[in-house]
């Protein structure tokens, strides 16, 4: 069937974007911020449901706001940023839970297998390809900015702007994955495969390859399993990703 083939394609593209964005997220030590960003989608989804708008539009709008908030906060010192992120974004999660309710809340939190319209698939593919294109195209600049923002500056890179673009790519990836994993677990699809890759790879190209492979495998296998057993898809995908991570830990110990 055409729709299921294109849905599969979309989930693969979304997962590949998550693996790539995640590779830099784990190297940049923004694991906490990435969970926080995905949580902030919830009040947006809640508001969208209340006003009968497409939940993803509300989620994406909230993500955009959250991204600028994180970007602004990153200028501050490390400790105060982490505290602020912890406070502000847990509040967002609480407020979002109050706005949405019942089945909708569970779907928003954990993701649900389901059919997508042609438009959703097309937009999703465009978004995922944009993220993949950005990370691959900007990988050298992202790497220099990660190793040393000062060095990056002397190489003529506008580090602040690059940070913003990266965070926007991150937020877009979260928005793409909300359908599959929900706001609680989308951050994990970004972080866990990349963490696995960081553990196993010895070069940047190797890291990208492992992160993308682990994210795609977990998403495809997880979506299928969840649909088959009528479970929310997010926990199944993350459980598979986590399983791959522990396999990776064991594999490296053996070698």
């Amino acid at each position: 069937m055409i729709t299921s083939a294109s849905s599969l394609l979309l989930s693969v593209a979304m997962a590949a974007a998550a693996g790539l964005v995640g590779s830099f997220a784990v190297m940049r030590r923004m694991t906490l911020a990435s969970d926080a960003i995905s949580h902030v989608a919830l009040p947006g989804i809640g508001l969208a449901l209340a006003f009968r708008v497409h939940p993803l539009i509300g989620g994406a709008a909230a993500l955009l706001l959250g991204t600028f908030a994180i970007w602004g906060l990153e200028r501050r010192t490390r400790i105060s940023t982490e505290t602020l992120i912890g406070v502000v974004f847990s509040t967002a999660l609480a407020a979002g839970s109050l706005l949405a309710s019942g089945e909708e809340l569970i779907d928003a939190l954990l993701g649900s297998p389901g059919d997508l319209t042609g438009w959703e698939v097309a937009l999703g593919l465009v978004g995922a390809l944009a993220v993949i294109g950005f990370v691959l195209g900007a990988r050298n600049r992202l790497l220099l900015a990660l190793v040393s923002p000062d060095i990056a500056r002397t190489a003529g890179i506008d580090v602040r702007r690059l940070d913003l673009l990266y965070l926007l790519a991150f937020a877009l990836t979260v928005a793409l994955g909300l359908r599959y994993l929900g706001v609680l677990l989308m951050g994990s699809l970004i972080i866990i495969p990349a963490a696995t890759a960081r553990y196993l790879a010895r070069s940047l190209a190797g890291m990208f390859a492992v992160a993308v492979a682990a994210a795609v495998l977990a998403t495809v296998a997880g979506t299928w399993t969840a649909a088959h057993y009528h479970r929310p898809s997010g926990p199944v995908i993350v459980a598979i990703a986590a399983g791959l991570f522990f396999l990776g830990v064991l594999a490296r110990r053996d070698s």
Binding site: R141, V147, S148, L204
Partner: protein, 264 residues
């Protein structure tokens, strides 16, 4: 502290000329262009004034050493020069300046899956330099391709410093900024690194700005010295600045000049 005492080589009297501004007009054909001119530079973080009213210049192809105790703002000065911290005053680089910056230490986790080559090639891509420059830079600093192919976390302190130096050299910089090049490097490695820097400066015609605690090396390699620290900042030729009295004033301790008296 195990630091080598300041010794004055016999050639002390013939040290490079002081780069104090000459009266305009005279010898204008022979005058060296300045790679960097800094006027009334001040940096403050909130209420803490880190640098206050610095004025100095660095002629092309010369080497400026920045000395001073910890916390005197040496790294902040470099970061102001590259535009990474806000400042008051003026910082003027000569037109066409390309800066290679070697920071003192990197806030990096050691287990990143990034090789030296990943790192160097990223610079060629960003600087739009040919890939061949990677091999050339590695050769200049004496780092083997085998070492560059390893994840950066597995390199020794000296190898990592060389990698950073090679990185700074990719893209053919005209100025090198070097923040404590020998931190975390043992003493023979230190000499070697300075010799490399010295050779690069001569072969490549680079202007050097370096922060260092190794006063004896500063004495040998620098054409001018900028001191930060207690009291007023000072700027001049090494033989002028590196007198025992001045050192004691800058560092707030007479230990080094005491040392010097015995050796000298």
């Amino acid at each position: 502290m195990g630091r080598p005492p300041i010794t004055r080589p016999p050639s002390a009297g013939s040290c490079s000329p002081l780069s104090r501004p000459e009266p305009e007009g005279r010898d204008s054909l022979l005058r060296v262009r300045n790679a960097l001119e800094v006027e009334h530079l001040s940096v403050a973080f909130g209420r803490a004034r880190v640098l206050e009213d610095l004025t100095f210049s660095v002629p092309e192809r010369s080497a400026l050493a920045v000395i001073g105790p910890n916390g005197s703002g040496k790294t902040v000065l470099f970061r102001a020069l590259i535009g990474a911290v806000p400042y008051r005053g003026s910082v003027r680089w000569a037109p066409g300046t390309r800066i290679g910056y070697v920071p003192q230490k990197l806030d990096l986790e050691r287990d990143l899956p990034v090789t030296g080559f990943d790192f160097l090639r990223a610079k060629t891509a960003v600087a739009r330099a040919p890939r061949a420059e990677v091999a050339r830079a590695l050769e200049l600093v004496g780092l083997s391709p085998e070492s560059a192919a390893r994840p950066i976390g597995t390199l020794s302190g000296g190898q990592f410093q060389r990698l950073l130096l090679a990185f700074a050299l990719v893209g053919r910089p005209t100025v090198l900024l070097f923040d404590e090049p020998t931190a975390g490097v043992d003493e023979p490695g230190e000499e070697l690194l300075y010799a490399t820097i010295r050779r690069l400066q001569e072969e490549e015609g680079l202007t050097m700005l370096l922060i260092s605690h190794e006063l004896s090396l500063v004495y040998r390699y620098a054409s001018s010295v900028l001191c930060l620290g207690r009291g007023k900042p000072c700027f001049g030729a090494p033989r002028e600045i590196l007198s025992p009295e001045r050192i004691a004033e800058i560092y707030g301790t007479p230990v080094k000049f005491h040392h010097h008296d015995h050796v000298g």
